[in-house]
């Protein structure tokens, strides 16, 4: 069939026309082979602009379209749709970027116009070789996987479950709740953290649509958006979840104690334990690593006293495979260990504690029942709270951990309220930009908190007291402040196992180690992999309101996809000519999306089109030339190059 090309040159206001002579380029385009119509217009992406294209397709029989305008990243979908609307396959369209690649980077009008001509010529030659391609649709599995049972995961799971669709909520620890359940009060309202979280936790426990897989980890993920297959390891609790009543007798009878993770090491727990009173599920778990039965073969006291006969030492890890359409990653954060910061004496000096340790101390359910005490059991008369420990510091983490200024002020309030002690907040910049945050700062000033602007250099122990050395940069003097207790507001760090999670899910991480979002402004919860979302602190430090908002945002996106029921797969994928394939498997290891597998029967590689993103790596690498990248064939690319050179 005769190929009839329509070329449309956009002025883009003065963005293009200001540097490129669009009339000249139009005239040039008219003279190219197979071009039946060449037009220029002020804004091709507008309705009248697109009507020009549609009209020519309908009336002039244009069956190949070139638009010379901005970057395909901007309007390729727009123009493709215009073609489809007029009845032309969207892949018979090509864009020449004469804005970002031409007018915006030139200072010479003549050179810019020549370049625009070359780009148009290239696009025309290429589009002549385009084939009509069909996007495919695949169904979307309505189940969702949420990894991580902190506030982010809980919120996302509840939002999705409310729609009636099923959610698998996988949590590594024995109970959901994350770090938020460890906190005492939340800023700026000073709501009790557990009081606002536990209703949500029990909702999760009761929801018929949420299958809570606690004490479990995701082992493997394969598949693609709408159709993921996930292998989950349900770690052995050595307690039968169905039988355990959560009575706590085993905890009482267990003779062995180890440091409690929940209490940040400030107290101990038994080897068989329920992590905290409001745990969901309210089921005991046996810590195999420290259990004397597993180490030496003795004890089994818990088993003896369990009335429900729920203890089972023969339990093994279980594996299950679930199929889901979308995955929401909500794995949370870890806290910096300040031991390497030698000058602050954490681990060396007594009464230097971290923020998480203080949260547990000040919590009524914590090791001191909420009393703020120094190591010798007395209440401190002066307390120093040091901001930015390990944050905003090129020696540790360059980023700001966002929440520490607010919780440091919260600590100031709690210390003042409970002990009446004099509190020093040692800060560099005060970050209090959320709703009600600045007002909270004012309240702290009213309460008499002493704010010293300076980053302390050392904490010494002198005559039995701690002394904080700091330059008061506003008063311009050196200060040595004797205190009884020092709280280090430590940085929020990516989870220490985030590399493993990133690998399993194919997630990228930014240079600070947190998971990378799809676009920092417009797609904060998406990732480069469709169907996988990141919410909460696993993407970067943030406070609870932002985390909850992100969780709901991801849930909305997931529900939108479930509601649509099916998704389009990009047609510009790679295809293997099995007759040419020699079975060398070079392509398989190169594919960044794990889209290629090997067929043992046919001894050739096969591409899973739904996973293929059309990156072209396999096509370039194939030694037999058996792989063709659709819409980016060698012939098409050669034609484009010729168009530029000739």
């Amino acid at each position: 069939m005769e190929k009839r090309v329509g070329v449309y040159i956009c002025h883009c206001g003065s963005n293009i026309a200001g540097m490129v002579d669009v009339e000249e380029v139009t005239k040039f385009a008219q003279g190219l082979g197979s071009v039946v119509a060449a037009r220029n217009y002020k804004y091709m992406c507008s309705d009248p602009g697109m009507d020009l294209i549609k009209k020519d397709i309908k009336e002039l029989g244009v069956n190949r379209v070139v638009v010379a305008s901005c970057s395909p990243q901007m309007h390729e979908p727009t123009f493709r749709r215009a073609c489809e609307d007029a009845g032309l396959n969207q892949y018979l369209f090509e864009m020449a970027n004469i804005r970002e690649h031409c007018s915006w980077v030139s200072e010479d009008r003549i050179a810019a116009t020549e370049k625009a001509k070359a780009l148009v010529s290239a696009a025309v030659r290429r589009v002549l070789l385009h084939e009509p391609l069909e996007t495919r649709e695949v169904p979307v599995n309505p189940n969702t996987l949420v990894i991580g049972g902190g506030i982010a995961g809980i919120q996302a799971a509840l939002d999705i479950a409310a729609s009636g669709h099923k959610v698998y909520l996988v949590e590594k620890g024995p109970s959901i709740g994350g770090h938020m359940i460890q906190l005492d009060k939340t800023f700026p309202t000073l709501d009790c953290s557990a009081c606002i979280l536990t209703p949500k936790m029990s909702q999760v426990g009761r929801s018929p649509n949420i299958e809570l897989l606690s004490y479990s980890e995701v082992e493997e993920v394969s598949g693609y958006v709408g159709n993921f297959k996930v292998k989950i390891r349900k770690k052995a609790r050595y307690v039968d979840e169905g039988k355990c009543t959560g009575c706590g007798t085993c905890m009482q009878k267990c003779p062995w104690k180890v440091p409690s993770e929940f209490d940040a090491g400030l107290s101990t727990r038994k080897v068989i334990y329920i992590p905290f009173a409001q745990a969901v599920p309210n089921v005991a778990v046996l810590d195999r690593k420290n259990c004397v039965y597993f180490k030496k073969g003795t004890c089994r006291a818990c088993e003896r006293f369990c009335e429900a006969k729920a203890i089972n030492f023969e339990q093994t890890d279980q594996f299950l495979e679930v199929e889901v359409g979308n995955i929401i990653v909500a794995t949370g954060y870890d806290v910096l260990d300040p031991s390497p910061i030698y000058q602050y004496g954490y681990g060396r000096l007594e009464n230097v504690i971290t923020s998480l340790e203080f949260e547990r101390m000040v919590n009524a359910s914590g090791p001191t029942e909420g009393k703020i005490l120094t190591k010798d059991g007395s209440e401190p008369k002066t307390v120093a709270i040091i901001h930015c420990v390990g944050s905003r510091d090129h020696n540790y983490h360059e980023y700001c951990s966002k929440v520490c200024c607010m919780y440091s002020m919260k600590f100031a309030h709690l210390v003042k309220e409970r002990t009446g002690a004099r509190v020093y907040n040692l800060y560099t910049e005060l970050k209090s930009s959320g709703k009600g945050y600045e007002e909270f700062y004012n309240r702290m000033l009213d309460e008499g908190t002493v704010f010293v602007r300076g980053r302390p250099s050392d904490i010494f122990s002198e005559n039995g007291r701690l002394v904080v050395q700091v330059e008061d940069t506003l008063a311009d003097c050196q200060r040595r402040i004797p205190v009884d207790l020092v709280i280090l507001s430590t940085a929020i760090e990516p989870r220490h196992d985030s590399e493993k999670i990133a690998r399993i899910l194919g997630l990228s991480r930014s240079s600070d180690g947190f998971f990378l979002e799809k676009h920092p402004k417009l797609e904060p919860v998406g990732t480069a992999t469709d169907g996988i979302y990141i919410v909460g602190c696993c993407q970067g430090p943030r406070d609870i309101p932002d985390t909850v908002a992100q969780a709901s945002a991801a849930a909305a996106k997931v529900l939108a996809m479930i509601e649509a029921g099916k998704i389009q797969i990009e047609a510009a994928t790679a295809v293997i000519d099995e007759e040419l394939c020699s079975g060398c498997k070079t392509c398989i290891s190169l594919c960044p999306y794990n889209a290629i597998s090997f067929s043992e029967e046919r001894k050739v590689s096969c591409i899973n089109e739904a996973l293929c993103k059309g990156c072209g790596t396999c096509a370039a690498a194939c030694p037999s030339g058996a792989i063709k990248a659709r819409h980016f064939t060698d012939e098409q690319i050669m034609a484009e190059i010729e168009g530029v050179l000739v």
Binding site: Q343, C388, R392, D393, H394, N395, T428, E429, R453, G454, R455, P456, S457, D458, Q469, V470, E471, D472, T473, D476, Q478
Partner: protein, 261 residues
């Protein structure tokens, strides 16, 4: 696309008016030179140059004309008019002044901060305010022990100790050093001895230093000096290297080049 730099040129007195004119002619012949103006104070001429990439080839063209006693280069970034800030930024290591968050970690860590006119953090604040004489005339640089505690602890990787050295270089060059600290004088004697002999000479240094600053203090030092002498740890004669001429050439050329960029 180049950077703008200023060439501060001092012509050699021996070359006289002729030498001055030769330098002027050489400057005018260079296309990168945008403007030439007479200067007052330490320098005779200031030329604004649009340097393509590297400064030295352009500087060489001027030096080859002869008649230049000293050529100092000041790199100009588009900052608000703060020549002192630009002067500091143009010294290798000085540009780190731009990153300071004024957190005070350096000052609090400094073992000698109590004796300083201005703490290290304050020095940086003053540089940013453009207070050249205040900074260069302070004793802070002379009291700095170069222990680098500030540098390793700085959360923004500001090279504070290097900055102190650079500031003292500037203060010495422009004869603004503080009278409150004897350190610049000690450094001067140390350097004089090296220039002559190629090696340091502790006895020579201490002799000159105490005679010049405070002979009575020398008396306090005498017992210690004697002990060192008796233990064979204080050679009276200075050591000399063979390559003193080579060293002299190096120092002479460096002096003409002027400045470290």
């Amino acid at each position: 696309m180049g950077t703008k730099v200023y060439f501060m040129i001092k012509t050699a007195e021996e070359a006289g008016q002729e030498g001055y004119e030769q330098v002027l002619k050489a400057l005018e012949a260079i296309p990168e030179v945008e403007s030439i103006e007479p200067a007052s104070g330490d320098y005779d001429l200031v030329a604004r140059v649009d340097v393509p990439k590297r400064v030295v080839p352009v500087a060489n063209k001027i030096l080859e004309s002869g008649g230049v006693k000293r050529l100092e280069v000041i790199r100009v970034e588009p900052l608000e008019p703060n020549p002192f800030m630009e002067e500091v930024c143009s010294i290798p290591g000085g540009e780190s002044v731009l990153w300071c968050a004024q957190c005070g970690m350096c000052s609090a860590s400094c073992p000698n901060v109590a004796q300083m006119d201005y703490s290290p953090r304050k020095i940086i604040a003053l540089i940013r305010a453009g207070n050249r004489n205040q900074v260069l005339g302070s004793n802070s640089m002379g009291v700095c022990a170069s222990c680098y505690l500030c540098t390793v602890r700085c959360p923004r990787e500001v090279k504070i100790t290097e900055l102190m050295h650079a500031l003292e270089c500037l203060a010495t060059r422009h004869e603004l050093t503080s009278a409150k600290t004897a350190t610049p004088m000690m450094h001067r004697f140390f350097v004089d001895i090296i220039k002559r002999n190629g090696r340091a000479h502790e006895f020579g240094l201490m002799l000159r230093f105490y005679l010049r600053t405070n002979p009575f203090a020398a008396i306090k030092m005498l017992p210690m000096a004697l002990k060192l002498l008796l233990h064979g740890r204080m050679p009276l004669r200075a050591r000399r290297i063979k390559g003193t001429e080579q060293l002299k050439v190096i120092i002479h050329e460096a002096q003409i080049m002027g400045g470290a960029i």
